[in-house]
Amino acid sequence: MYFPIADVTISPILLMSVGFLVGILGGFFGVGGGFLAGPMMFWSGVPMNFVIGTDLAHMTGKSIVAARRHRALGHVDFKLGMFMVGGTIVGVEIGARIIEALQDSGAIDMTIGVTYIVILVIISIFTGWESIKAIQMVRTDQIDVQEAVGFKGLSKKIRSINIPPMVSFPVSGIESISVWMVLGVGLFTGLLAGSLGVGGGFIRMPMLVYVLGIPTHIAVGTDLFEIIFSSGFGTITHGLKGNVDILMALVMQTGAVLGAQIGATATRFFAGPRIRLAFSVLPLIGAALVVVRLLGSGMMH
């Protein structure tokens, strides 16, 4: 099928399959799946600027569906999500402007490709290491997961930083935290969303768990709620810059809706560390796809 806006020909079945796969990821892990969908689209020949904008557009609709399902399960902290939005939107705009500058300089594919690879490998190693350690220690000593891997101290330190205004998030079990810490998480993940075309969930979900100390199931639902705003705003700002092929996003979304249903239901059957262990393999697949495309186009020679 020819997509005239992005000026590429891609099988709609391939796009629908990509949507289906990332739909499952979105529902199950609480991530938009952009870290995998982006490399898959890039690998299949879509120009990098359209990969970023279109990926964000397709994630907007998908995250609405997945967040609705998690809300029904009581897994969304709306107050925390709304506080993070401020930082997220600023970060997305900065990221979108970086993409525009890279597009003008002609270095977008190589720069974003290598950034993708580095971030995905780091996330994979870190999440894999942490979850294996947590599973082993909780199994033997029956202690709290965050305490087992030493992150309880980190989230306690973050919560003890007393820079006003302070705010509480009872749903997430946070009695008091500086609003700047929450905005900081939003800004950082928004920057990734705007510059890599991802919802930011693959970094926001670990940050919510490890840095802010939120239970994994609440982090999953709240992250999806946040993705609605990060990808929604990202769609607008990239759309205005001519980086979005809506038709391609609509086709991808037809598969994503079905996948999201399966993924959200699956979270009921797996414990937090096991969800994170399964999650740790996925970024490597995305990184491998980017390497293949960069090698194929001769950019790494």
Partner: protein, 93 residues
């Protein structure tokens, strides 16, 4: 909870997929093909309207398709034996 054989569970999942697939194929033919030229024209002539329309289409389609998939599960009573039961089986292993 009464457990069903994996064969039955996969059959029901397959039914869900086939029904959804047929509906999506019809949707491609009727809606997406029609949108093709119109969206391209908007993209070339009015980027602001294109962006707003695009975001609206994405949101409407997501909610609509979610409604359709839920309806399929309920109408064919697949929600009793379909995806949830398949996950039940695997989670017990």
């Amino acid at each position: 909870m009464k457990k069903l054989a994996p064969r039955v569970l996969f059959r029901n999942l397959l039914i869900e997929m086939v029904i959804y697939g047929i509906l999506i194929f019809a949707y491609y033919l009727v809606v997406l093909r029609w949108l093709d030229d119109w969206l391209m024209s908007l993209f070339q002539n009015n980027l602001i309207f294109y962006t707003i329309t695009g975001l609206g289409l994405i949101v409407v389609q997501a909610v609509f398709l979610d409604y359709v998939t839920s309806l399929i599960l309920k109408y064919f009573k697949l929600d009793q034996f379909g995806i949830r039961r398949i996950l039940d089986v695997f989670s017990d292993r």
